[in-house]
């Protein structure tokens, strides 16, 4: 049985709050059944608005949202059958954990014994069995979050929405919760739409990531593709670390292009968003793709002066002044011999032309 490729579908959705500014512009997004899709973007990029439209708390100004083929714009939130985990958990503080979980079942008139069974199952899924009679206020942040997840899943919704659910947790807890949510998703196969501004979270958990900026999806692809092959400079900059060079294309041929930088040097790059000579471009290079003292003959090999050395435990970050970019970052694994990494030294840096992606200028 193949999953419905368009289980959740945003079709040409626009959203404006004040009639002047579009918060979401012409959004088209298909989410497969059982998929874990993350909406990632800076604050104000429209990702939460999209989630709220899907949940039914906001109505699209234009366009339509489909759930399993049915338009849902005119269905009120409580009839959509979509589970939701909120940023601040939104547990009902006057109800016990059991009552919180039983709430969606009780409003659906589920019989008592079935309710008990489902609550038990949901609680053991988030490893909180035995906490039924606690009040939310007596739980730690992580436990509250797990209760919120269990509550969103207990009535077997077809889609679960999560709005920055881990934002309030500390770093360690956040990481373990990421795995926990991912495992829950894998074991029950529910469709999850997850909103976050934390790229690490998005990369860890998702099947696919939709990078939002300025009300638009910039790129929708799997985490590895997103990191390795960003399609524009916003995505390249937003996901992971990124070294950039501004320049002008001087030649495009054989799947390679020459870019003349402001410093006058020419580098060989991979033309992603440039087509012809004379175009302005930003060349993006991941720090770990640049190699110190390259032995083999690389297409790009340049000398730079070390400006700063920052020790990071497992690796050392080196800031270079390279080809006019004073913020060029290198990551040097600490296991290797440290060579001449000292402030003021000159070192030679090389990289493959296919790793230097010539993207759109800003």
């Amino acid at each position: 049985m193949s999953n419905n490729k368009e289980f959740v579908k945003f079709a040409k959705v626009d959203k404006s709050y004040d009639g002047k500014v579009l918060v979401v512009k012409d959004l088209n997004l298909d989410i497969e059944e059982g998929e874990f899709v993350t909406m990632l973007g800076p604050s104000g990029s429209g990702k939460t608005t999209c989630l709220m439209m899907l949940a039914g708390f906001e109505t699209p100004t234009n366009g339509e949202i489909y759930l399993d083929g049915n338009p849902i714009s005119n269905i009120p939130p409580h009839k959509r059958g979509i589970g939701m985990v909120f940023q601040n958990y939104a547990l009902f503080p006057h109800m016990t954990v059991y009552e919180n979980l039983a709430f969606p079942l009780r409003v659906r008139k589920t019989p008592k014994d079935e309710t008990d069974k489902k609550v038990d199952k949901a609680l053991s899924m988030v490893s909180l069995a035995g906490y039924e009679s606690r009040m939310p206020g007596q739980l730690s942040g992580g436990q509250q979050q797990r209760v919120a997840v269990a509550r969103a899943l207990v009535f077997d919704p077809s889609v679960v929405l999560m709005d920055e659910p881990l934002g309030a947790l500390d770093k360690n807890l956040r990481e373990s919760m990421q795995y926990e949510i991912k495992h829950i998703h894998e074991s029950i196969g529910v469709t999850v739409v997850y909103v976050t501004h934390d790229q690490g979270e998005a990369l860890t958990m998702s099947n696919r990531i939709a990078v939002f900026n300025d009300g638009k999806v910039q790129q929708l692809s799997s985490p590895d593709k997103l990191y390795e092959e960003p399609v524009n400079s916003f995505v390249a900059e937003f996901i992971g670390e990124n070294n950039t060079f501004n320049g002008q294309v001087t030649d495009v041929s054989n799947g390679k292009c020459k870019v003349k930088l402001e410093s006058g040097t020419e580098i060989i790059s991979n033309p992603i968003r440039v087509n012809s000579k004379g175009e302005k471009t930003i060349v993006s290079l991941r720090p770990e793709r640049a190699i110190i003292n390259p032995e083999n003959k690389m297409e790009n090999k340049h000398k730079g002066k070390i400006e700063e050395v920052i020790y990071h435990g497992d690796h050392t970050r080196v800031r270079l002044n390279l080809l006019g970019n004073k913020e060029f970052i290198l990551k040097v694994p600490n296991s290797s011999a440290r060579m001449d990494i000292k402030v003021g030294n000159e070192i030679s840096v090389g990289w493959d032309s296919k790793d230097a992606r010539a993207l759109d200028p800003k």
Partner: protein
């Protein structure tokens, strides 16, 4: 570690506890001095007057002081048959002393309240006692009037012996001690106080309910509107609060009177005939309207402060989990506002039950409260002990309400802002 409790010493060798006390002492004194003015103020202006009110309300020392010897002699009297000779002699002696001070008339009036017909026979006694021979007081007094031979009159005197009485409290509930010292009710058509108590309760309850019904949506709106609108609305709620109570009440009088603005409007839109304007003032309606408006902020503010803390995502969670808007409101939002409802209702009810100016001005005869009666006795009849008794009964009532509230909602759950 040894099993004995070891005293922990500081580095100087002083026991830690001593050292701690010493270190904290200064702070404690400072803290107390800061609170002291308020404490003193409360004692002088609150606790002391209430104590004074209480003693005044039960004070009945007049007769006690007038007939000291009589009451001394009566101590051994069982009160069933006519008292022995010593009592008569003591009474005659006391009465003579009073007559010299020309205070015998007061005694007559006071005892007449206790037992009808006392004044007459005492006046007779006053006229005839000049000719009394020494000794044998019992026979001479009994010869003056047959009522002196009636044990009930002597019992009445004995009843006034204690320096205190609960009579004023009974009067506040339309009851009194009858001639046999039993508590009985006054005739049905004279039970004005009980009507007033019930009306006070009724008006306080109705005003509280009205305030709740009107205040809840306003508070909700205040808590959920965006800042720029909610500030404006807040000012609208508070503006009457900043206006003098008297001014507000007077403006209600202008609005509600028969030739007033509201009536004019009703006539204009044809709701009522010009010659059939409803009376909206000098009755309960006026009291309800004016008091609700005046007490509304006391309901809105606690509610608002509670609602402000309720995250809007809770309602959303309720809806996303499948609750209809009503279910989400009733099961999620409403229970969370109960501390605010409790605080607002308690505040409004307590204020309403003792309200004075507004009912006095717009209430008329059917819209006045017990507080107006208390004021009447303070200013007109000058029966301060009765006014004190009723004031204390009101205070007790409020404390009872407070106690019930504590049992139901818990005073720790209260949120006043």
């Amino acid at each position: 570690m040894s099993s004995e409790t070891q005293k922990i010493l500081t580095t100087d060798g002083i026991p830690l506890e001593v050292s701690l006390k010493k270190a904290e002492k200064k702070n404690k004194i400072k803290a107390f001095l800061l609170v002291a003015p308020l404490l003193l103020f409360i004692i002088i202006t609150y606790i002391f007057p209430i104590g004074e009110m209480f003693t005044r309300s039960i004070d009945d020392r007049m007769v006690t002081n007038m007939l000291p010897k009589t009451f001394k002699a009566m101590e051994t009297w069982d009160g069933k048959e006519l008292p022995p000779e010593e009592v008569f002699a003591a009474f005659l002696s006391d009465y003579r002393a009073l007559a010299e001070k020309k205070e015998h008339g007061k005694l007559g009036q006071r005892l007449n309240k206790e037992k009808n017909g006392f004044n007459t026979i005492l006046k007779k006694l006053w006229r005839k006692m000049e000719k009394f021979e020494d000794g044998n007081a019992k026979e001479q007094i009994m010869a003056i009037h047959k009522r002196f031979r009636d044990v009930k009159y002597w019992q009445a005197i004995k009843r006034t012996a204690p320096p205190y009485t609960m009579g004023k409290y009974l009067k506040g509930m339309d009851m009194f001690f009858d001639e046999d010292g039993k508590v009985v009710q006054v005739e049905e058509d004279r039970r004005i106080h009980r009507i007033l108590w019930l009306r006070t309760l009724e008006i306080a309850v109705v005003v509280t309910i009205l305030c709740f019904l009107m205040g809840y949506p306003i508070a909700h709106l205040l808590a959920t509107l965006p800042m720029k609108y909610s500030n404006l609305l807040m000012i609208c709620v508070l503006l009457p609060f900043w206006t003098s109570l008297l001014v507000r009440t007077a403006s209600w009088m202008i609005l509600l009177q028969q030739q007033g603005i509201v009536n004019d409007f009703f006539v204009m839109i044809g709701l009522v005939a010009d010659d059939n304007r409803p009376e909206m003032m000098y009755n309960k309606t006026g009291t309800y309207i004016a008091m609700t408006q005046i007490l509304l902020p006391f309901m809105v503010l606690p509610l608002y402060s509670v609602m402000k803390t309720i995250s809007p995502s809770l309602m959303r969670a309720g809806k996303s989990l499948g609750g209809t808007p009503f279910v989400a409101f009733w099961k999620v939002y409403f229970p969370l506002t109960i501390p605010g409802i409790g605080a607002g209702c308690l505040l409004v009810f307590i204020l309403a039950i003792g309200y004075y100016i507004t009912p006095a001005l717009v209430g008329g005869a059917s819209g006045t409260l017990i507080s107006n009666q208390i004021a009447y006795h303070m200013k007109e009849t000058l029966d301060w002990s009765f006014a004190s008794a009723m004031g204390l009964m009101l205070l007790t009532g409020v404390l009872v309400v407070y106690w019930i509230y504590n049992k139901l909602v818990g005073i720790d759950n209260i949120k006043l802002g």
